[in-house]
Symmetry: C2
Subunit: 231 residues, 2 copies
């Protein structure tokens, strides 16, 4: 799976959160980090070139800090410039691709609800992107929301790292089965880059997960047989 | 009432709808037409100057064609540049001012609902602006939505003209009483600019509306008396 991470952030160099994401994304071979603000700072962009480029990817991620309940202006500028009605609606050039949203906010996620200081849920606030995915016949992924990154403990950041890597290239939706498949693929990949003495340990881990998966499959089969007899 | 009409439209000169609005707004003495795309095409903007400027107005209107379920990028750029957290949240510099949205769309308004091609209502799509008004402690006015302007008949455009003028400077909410007050103010203003032979006709019209208002007030008083006796 090829993933494009379109980052909209006017001060990307100063952002600890984006640095964290960038370092994480570097672990994923088939992901491409694409800073829209850098793109616009260089020269006038070429919509035709951008349209050809974006079609190479299976999963497109809009990644940004929430600025006044939307993305910063650079993503909107890109959408206005590149996502012409012809490209999106007439030729349906992004049809069936996945659209993910990675959004960061300094406010606590619990403030995003009726009665909270932000009043509306993140689902409501991101509705324009969902409506866009709908119009483009894309698959809208559950948004990946990171609140108050700078207050997080190290263990929370580690969990966040794994969740982010999965958001970049695990099959969706993130069921237990899909998570496990993804984990096995990561371990097998790591094995190739590892010293021989550690490969044995990884083999044991991979074997253990495979065995567990076999057990789960057996148990599921048993449940199915029991249910079939009941009917 | 002083009204600022902030127009976000990358091709404002080619837009028949914006030309119509511009001509209409010229009738309203205390309204200021402000093209954000022109502003940005000239030079780097000065946030301090913009902040001082915008505070002169009582009603601020964001006016734009709906581009991918939001405003074009220039309004977002302006919000990102000028509406700093300090200006909006810490000093609450726009507190109690009114925020209006004038939004135009080529799709029929009936498509904006569950089951329609646009799926979401305009209220849902404009939620980020409502959330902004909430955060700025502004009064969010009912958005003024104009769909399929180019297909409208002349009489519909005339009705639209009056409704737009009211949206610019009538007291809100637009109750019958507020509409009538606004109409009387417009007629009295017109009288000053009119030839003497027509002033008599306007006087008759103004007198008739005043008489009707007196009758309505009497009837309301009667209803109140009857209700009071019932209790």
């Amino acid at each position: 799976m090829k993933t494009l991470i379109m980052v909209s952030h006017p001060n990307i160099e100063q952002s600890a959160t984006e640095a964290f994401f960038k370092t994480s994304a570097d672990f994923v071979d088939e992901s491409t980090w694409y800073s829209l603000d850098h793109l616009y700072s260089k020269a006038k962009i070429d919509p035709d070139r951008e349209q050809r480029f974006i079609q190479n990817f299976d999963r497109i991620i809009f990644q940004f800090p929430l600025y006044w309940y939307s993305s910063p202006a650079s993503l909107k500028q890109y959408m206005d410039d590149v996502f012409t009605r012809k490209f999106i609606v007439a030729t349906q050039s992004l049809k069936n691709k996945e659209l993910g949203i990675v959004v960061t906010t300094g406010d606590a996620l619990t403030d995003f609800q009726a009665g909270g200081s932000e009043r509306y849920t993140m689902s409501e606030i991101l509705r324009p992107f969902e409506a866009f995915a709908n119009k483009a016949v894309m698959v809208y992924l559950k948004p990946f929301v990171v609140d108050q990154f700078n207050y997080k403990e190290v263990t929370d950041k580690q969990r966040l790292l794994v969740a982010y890597l999965q958001y970049l290239n695990a099959p969706m939706p993130l069921s237990l089965e899909n998570r496990e498949k993804w984990l096995l693929a990561q371990l097998k990949q790591s094995k190739l880059d590892t010293a021989p003495q550690q490969q044995q340990i990884l083999d044991l881990v991979i074997g253990a997960i495979d065995d567990q998966q076999d057990q789960i499959d057996d148990l599921k089969m048993n449940i199915k047989l029991i249910r079939d007899q009941e009917e």
